[in-house]
Symmetry: D2
Amino acid sequence: MLGAQHMRAVTFQAPGEIRVDDLPEPEPIAADDAIVSVEATGICGSDLHIFHGRVAVEQGFVIGHEFVGTVTAAGDGVTEVSAGDRVLGCFCAACGTCFFCRRGEYVKCDHGQVFGHGSTLGNLPGAQADLVRVPHANLTLRRVPGGMSDDVALFAGDVMGTAYHAIVPAGMKPGDSVAVLGLGPVGLCAVQVARAGGAAQVLAVDSVEERLRMAEALGAVPVHLDEDPGGAVKRVTDRRGVDVAVEAVGHPSALDMACRMARKAGTVSVIGVFAERAEVHMGVVWIKSLRLVTGQANVIAHVDAVLDMLAHGVLDPAPLVTHHMGLEDAPEAYAVYDRREALKIVLSP
Amino acid sequence: MLGAQHMRAVTFQAPGEIRVDDLPEPEPIAADDAIVSVEATGICGSDLHIFHGRVAVEQGFVIGHEFVGTVTAAGDGVTEVSAGDRVLGCFCAACGTCFFCRRGEYVKCDHGQVFGHGSTLGNLPGAQADLVRVPHANLTLRRVPGGMSDDVALFAGDVMGTAYHAIVPAGMKPGDSVAVLGLGPVGLCAVQVARAGGAAQVLAVDSVEERLRMAEALGAVPVHLDEDPGGAVKRVTDRRGVDVAVEAVGHPSALDMACRMARKAGTVSVIGVFAERAEVHMGVVWIKSLRLVTGQANVIAHVDAVLDMLAHGVLDPAPLVTHHMGLEDAPEAYAVYDRREALKIVLSP
Amino acid sequence: MLGAQHMRAVTFQAPGEIRVDDLPEPEPIAADDAIVSVEATGICGSDLHIFHGRVAVEQGFVIGHEFVGTVTAAGDGVTEVSAGDRVLGCFCAACGTCFFCRRGEYVKCDHGQVFGHGSTLGNLPGAQADLVRVPHANLTLRRVPGGMSDDVALFAGDVMGTAYHAIVPAGMKPGDSVAVLGLGPVGLCAVQVARAGGAAQVLAVDSVEERLRMAEALGAVPVHLDEDPGGAVKRVTDRRGVDVAVEAVGHPSALDMACRMARKAGTVSVIGVFAERAEVHMGVVWIKSLRLVTGQANVIAHVDAVLDMLAHGVLDPAPLVTHHMGLEDAPEAYAVYDRREALKIVLSP
Amino acid sequence: MLGAQHMRAVTFQAPGEIRVDDLPEPEPIAADDAIVSVEATGICGSDLHIFHGRVAVEQGFVIGHEFVGTVTAAGDGVTEVSAGDRVLGCFCAACGTCFFCRRGEYVKCDHGQVFGHGSTLGNLPGAQADLVRVPHANLTLRRVPGGMSDDVALFAGDVMGTAYHAIVPAGMKPGDSVAVLGLGPVGLCAVQVARAGGAAQVLAVDSVEERLRMAEALGAVPVHLDEDPGGAVKRVTDRRGVDVAVEAVGHPSALDMACRMARKAGTVSVIGVFAERAEVHMGVVWIKSLRLVTGQANVIAHVDAVLDMLAHGVLDPAPLVTHHMGLEDAPEAYAVYDRREALKIVLSP
């Protein structure tokens, strides 16, 4: 189109196929929209769901929902950030005024939009691009604290915010024992948040040796899935079970294990994604008087706290970033991530 | 045994068969035991599980766990009540000092005993008898407030305490909308507690007309199970779903309905008994970010509040008592209850 | 200005003098502003502070912060209400996106504005006028539920919202005992909220007989200030003190009394205004391990719940409205209110 | 007395005078009493109040309320510990069954007794002795985790439990900013608990250089009282004030400073002792909507969590122990402590 500025953007094409396209630059639509020039954008496990076609996204839709960058334009209604500010984004946008937002349940906003997830989740083009349009920028964006690296800031609005959600509003208290099932980036960050929040003991369960080693380095007791995790829990908790069991896998067997690991009157925090039919043994749950907290992380509510913890080194996800690549290399990056050779890949436009 | 005093007691004999037996009177064993001369004792839905053999109890075991009476003897360690006091009992006893009791989770006491439930639940003879031994009497018993009838007091330690549990610690707040699924005594009392606690709207779901009428009289909107309860919820909540959905049935289909009735980020309070394998649709639960609170009621923690509400007429279960019978009539009473001809039967020794 | 529309508005002129002025009609400024045609507007105790000159307001400033009316214009960013909607307003406006709003502490908004309180509190002209401009209308306004009278709706955004604040977030639970000190409109509404929220007992303390009678009619135990309120508390609480003592006066002696009435580990809810230096006996507070919750009501956070309770008759402030007068009669209305001849005066433009 | 066994015990004689006396050994009285052979006992700031005569204690009364030792005898009702167990004690005993204990408010027990504080606080002889009688041993004592030193265990039941109380039930959340005013042992431990619980920033205020250095070593930003603490708070909190301000001094000026340091809608945690008349500026408190939580620490409720944190190195008070002395040296130890030459003195019988 004559005169229209263009930018590069990673688009979904078909299951197993993504592409770097040339697309028109986004422009502010609403008064509280901002445009952010992306400087770093992560690839996340949910991007892989899109890549595999398990989460349906229109062909040609721009994907990606983790980003750090600089505000290049902002509508009249944007008061919390200004053009020129270095910012990070939350993975979703919320209106701030509906029934759910008024209760602080931003992630359940009646008009909520998730970046890069197609028309099902609000039709909001993603952040794996040179530029991204950010609705409700006052809530969706935060200034990056001085001196914080892109890698670290990138985690605040998605992975670390999700880990915080799995632990803090779930009710963990200093002195608690915690088990984390599943040591992907969210699980490893949940180990960090649990330790940072005063857990006396954190058990970290997975079957991948290097993830167990990383969890151990972060202060957890590593437990290989094959080595009787239930027995390990009993050993360290005087046979009682943990105060909080975190399901960070999104699989019925992990959920079942979490319910068995939790102590009577304990909490099972289900941060792993359950989108399809799945079952839980209600007999076990009920007899033990368990409390289950579930659902996608309410990151907008947590991002201030997470940023402050990151800024002062109370949390540090930097060791989780295993790959830095260019935006142009997105196809290769997705292939690497799909082969599970990377823990976290950061793309730089 | 020569000289031993005897008393009458209702005992389980075989599925479908209970009997009034002549048994030795109980005596205090521990320093904090009390003996209560029973003046009124209720038959509860869980007694019916025993009657049907679904909950296994030894032949000859004394059953019953709801009681009001007078303390006739008390050990040296009993300080909260005295011989001569008119008291009511909670359905279970708790030690007060174990890990769980120290956290106020009395119902999960490591040494917990439920009255009249055989060796599986602590081997504590029941209260459908002339006399009952009460362990840890300081926590298990409370004085009946002056002027309160037996019928009303009887509810505090079991059914109304359970209803309170389903609503208050589950997190209902004044102004909330609530749905109660299942209008047995616990469900009807949950309607009362929800109304008394400031619910703006309570929907009461069942398929028995008279129970729906009673719920309506207690301030609920009655919804017949056949009349699209989901639609009714949407109509009264601006299509959102209720803040709190109470499952007071103990059946997977009711649980599923509760999960569908709750709003996003809402609460499902599972007070209906799940002892066997059952399933819940985790996809629905997770997408809606539901919070499930489950398990038997922590009545010892609630009984003070419940008694105060009963004493000042904020709650009134008297209309739920449909039958008064003698202890000797227990076999007939169980038959009546089994035929669902009664809502609550009170036996008087 | 030629062609500019004019309206009537109540303005502060000097201590003891208010006037109905002819002023230009307000127009929307920001995208999320709305204009409301006022149909009912209340006079509140804080208006009296302005009237007396104790709260400084510029000469000619439009006063009033309680209103019900119809939206006549709305900016592009107003999504929660539309022109033609019958609405009520909260007494203050909040941005919805600052640090405090993000935590749901709307009343502490960094850009907060209180209607009709002059430049000190945000320079926002008041609602005792034909028309009022409403900033951040998505949060500040709510639709009036069908069938609700002006009188009732008027309370939601100010007096009843304040009473809710004094009771619910302060932590009162069903079964609690409550004392309310000071039976102005807020105190009387606090009695209602406490009863509606399941308080077993509410003691209402004042020295005005008719207010005591009204509190009694609302379900409280009336206690004249001269009749040993402390003794009354002890009598009804087994000598322990109340779970929650509400200070609804704004005077050190009432605060002191509230601290003495609360039980050990109880709560003192200070909703009465303290703007100047005042003292509290920290020895009493500390020895009893009291918890003090203080400050102006966070009404925007409570108004949904309050409206639902009003809509379903769980709360009903209508009996508190003693006078209906025209907007033109504002000077007389203030004089009546100043002579304490009215409990609540509603002005209709 | 002929045949009676004797032991050494530290007794109060007169203001400024304590003595090591020869006294009869204590014996169990109630069924849930235990006798503990003391192996380490601390001197605490409140002992100094007794020493100075500010807290009245009978002449000859055994003082001290921090102890670690071995159970030498236990009544029939003692089930949580056994003779031979290495245990630590909480500073006070609670019945476990009264109104307050049933709510978990053990420190407000209607029959509460504080070790070594004379007849005013329950007439319970103290722990600075060879042997101490422990009432309600099931709640008052805990087993020392394997491998934990006397010095560390000693803190669980008093100083560290108090610090936990100042931070965790006061509502601090991971990511919060905290100011601690007063860096005695409790303040320094509060710094530790705040850091361990995930505070992003902790400001530590005092006027003693070495205490500031120790707070810094524990992860706090040290702020000398003379260096504008209010300005320091503003600098690190973007001018807002801290989320939680801890008053660990027990002086009106520190309380006033805490109220000024807290942000709007923040919390002031008053753990410093206020026994006499004192004042707080209610205008500041109310305008900022502060929440004040006050009173002696509910250590029995926290000691399990604190012990788990100590056992796994999440907290470590060992560096605070500056002096080890013999029980016989108590007079000298008190003199040293009185001259503020020690932070924590541990006496070994």
